[in-house]
Symmetry: C2
Subunit: 429 residues, 2 copies
């Protein structure tokens, strides 16, 4: 499967759920971008001829800003819940380095409600992400789920409100920093050693317990309204996932999970590959109370996910599931031995295409050996070969260039057998 084919798999999957494609221009107003981004990551634009007169246009750095801007400005035309996906490049003004590119693809899928949005949509997004990853044939993965209200409801029993954001950020980094660093950072925030112990104990109490056990235990804690609400939302989403028939074993409650972005307000999740945890999450997302923020006075809650296509790519390449470069999209090369009968060969190619078989015709004036060599170099697996006599009798030979195996076929009408010989399109990817 080539990268372009991978994007098509994603598109088809999203559309099978009724999500519509979004395609906004790459250029947004700087003002809109700065409402969510910082100027270190944003590229501004200027006309070369003018120099920089104005700072009014820039390149998007994510797909959430365009979504918020689009929903705010098209509110009247949209039908809610609004369901869209967006697969497109974004640009970050960072120095390109290993694993960090100036331009990379993002793939977002979101459901936006007008006023209210059922928790069932959280479950649907989780289900969809799992289905997408399976359809990309990524290796074994696990989705960690938590609820921001559980985290902050609990933390509020021990620390002040103004320390909360920083503390949540620390939880999220817990697996990446040393245990000393974690403790010291909390101490610097003014959290007592005793409370640090309690935080640690709470965050690690999901260890070795099943999801139902964790939920039961959470229900006994009953810290405050926020906490209770978070537990109820988490329980609801698990209940629906079970109804959805989504294997519980690939979903795990993870009390540490916060997701860096502050705009998440409810259920959050992150998917990691079991055998490649070091690349970080390959998908993630969650529930937010308010998509559009300052862009509109509407309250538009949503739930969404990002599939990390750029992060997945190297792993899929390594495992051979993705090909770096496609040398040809054709499954068969129609070779030409008689230039004066080029029309016959072209007709054969056309018939093959009409059967859904991607077919290249070799049009340079070269001998058969050079033509077969071309096919081999472009990794086109089959060649169709016909000399004058065969053309006259509507016959041809199909040669498998990998095994050398040859089959005779009839070309008029085109032998249905050919589809079996060259394989179906799906198998090719």
């Amino acid at each position: 499967m080539a990268f372009s084919r991978m994007l098509e798999v994603l598109r088809r999957k999203f559309e099978s759920y009724g999500f519509v494609p979004m395609d906004t221009p790459a250029v947004e107003r700087v003002e809109t971008l700065l409402a969510k981004g910082n100027d270190h990551e944003i590229y501004g634009l200027y006309r070369l001829a003018d120099g920089v007169a104005k700072r009014d246009l820039g390149l998007r750095f994510d797909l959430t800003v365009p979504l918020a801007r689009y929903v705010a400005s098209h509110f009247g035309q949209l039908v809610f819940p609004y369901k869209r996906y967006h697969i497109a490049p974004v640009w970050r003004g960072e120095r390109p380095q290993q694993g960090r590119y100036r331009q990379f693809y993002q793939c977002d899928v979101d459901v936006i409600g007008d006023g209210a949005l059922s928790i069932a949509h959280d479950a649907e997004i989780l289900l969809l992400v799992a289905e997408v990853l399976r359809s990309l044939k990524v290796p074994a993965f696990c989705t960690h789920i938590n609820n921001r209200k559980i985290l902050s409801g609990f933390l509020k029993t021990l620390i002040d409100d103004e320390q909360l954001t920083e503390a949540v950020r620390l939880m999220d980094k817990m697996d990446k920093i040393s245990s000393d660093e974690f403790d010291n950072s909390l101490l610097r925030l003014g959290v007592s050693s005793e409370n640090i112990g309690k935080i640690r104990e709470f965050l690690e109490s999901d260890d070795g317990r099943s999801n139902p056990e964790i939920l039961e235990w959470l229900k006994t804690l009953d810290f405050n309204d926020e906490f209770r609400e978070g537990v109820a939302e988490l329980e609801e989403v698990f209940g629906i996932l079970e109804e959805f028939g989504e294997a519980a074993e690939s979903m795990r409650i993870s009390l540490k999970l916060a997701r860096g972005l502050t705009y998440y307000t409810g259920n959050v999740f992150e998917t990691v590959l079991d055998d490649f945890r070091e690349i970080g999450s390959v998908a993630g997302g969650g529930r937010y109370n308010d998509l559009v923020g300052t862009l509109s006075d509407k309250k538009l809650p949503g739930v969404g996910a990002t599939i990390g296509v750029s992060r997945l790519t190297p792993k899929l390449l390594e495992s051979g599931l993705l090909r770096a470069d496609e040398l040809s999209t054709a499954r068969i090369l129609v070779t030409i031995q008689r230039r004066d009968r080029i029309g016959d060969y072209v007709k054969i190619a056309r018939d093959l295409r009409q059967m859904g078989i991607e077919t290249e015709t070799y049009l340079q004036e070269k001998n058969l050996g050079a033509q077969l060599n071309y096919a081999a170099k472009k990794k086109i697996k089959f060649a169709l070969i016909a000399n004058l006599e065969e053309l006259q009798e509507s016959r041809a030979i199909v040669r498998n260039l990998e095994t050398g195996e040859q089959r005779r076929i009839c070309t008029s009408p085109m032998d249905d057998e050919i589809q079996k010989i060259v394989g179906r399109g799906d198998e090719k990817t």
Copy 2:
């Protein structure tokens, strides 16, 4: 058909001919861009935080520069003839106005040879463009064909070499400017009135003649080597097109045709819609001697075409062949009457998707009327309705929301009939 679907039709068509997709980053070095563009149309980039320290990066303004840069820098890895297509946005630093956008899509398809490239590829590109347009169901069109060597070979018999570029540019504009303006511009170039008459006579002598008649007449002229070569190339491409079975009636020799870009060197063509000439050409292209120019010392001749997707879009919208906005990609909405049996409904939706039917599940807590209203507003044509009794008996009703017609189906195993009821995916577009 939505815009995203239209791009998919294009991709599939190109790939059926063995062309591979190209996807280069939007950002190129300014130096590379300026080799072909002018600084009025190029957007430069700067990091907002830095201001404009460097003028080294900019956005591509066409897809030819990225192709040339790519081929020059990957020469060793490519297999020639190299066949690629590229559908992607480009950016122009012009003031956005009616019909001119800051960002628009281009769609290019090219074959690049190493050293030599058979004229048969010119015919293949023409054939492919015609097939693409037909698969987009665009209204009746005509492709005008000429050869740059005919035009310049002829002009050289009457005017000096240094006037040639300007004269060719004038030919190309001939249909857009008044006859006086045409004559006066040539006079200003220093062409005598007598020669202007000869030019006029030559350029208009294709009028009312068939392609074979024009070719026969051109062969009698025999001005110089360049002219003869041009006539031979044009004749060859028509010969092959005929062999290809491409209807000659949609192709016309047009002696005025030059194509603005100076880099074309052989056969050139432009496709216009018979009933919408005012929008200009919807496809165009031709043969060039040297793609990479200063980027490499290799000689890489090519032939290619641009499909004007942005120009086609308004016409296709008008004729109803393209939809501006898709409100849902789903063909059927599974409504939910019993929240406690949500799993049953989700299973039905999953079974429908597995049959290739795009299916949305209504997950908000609303009554049936509101759910059907949602489907109608999103133009989802069918709704699946099942109450508790029906769920228990694995039955459901499929309602056509446009006609009100209802059909009973069995849901376990899912009735194959459903595919006929909701129609096939292809029909939906």
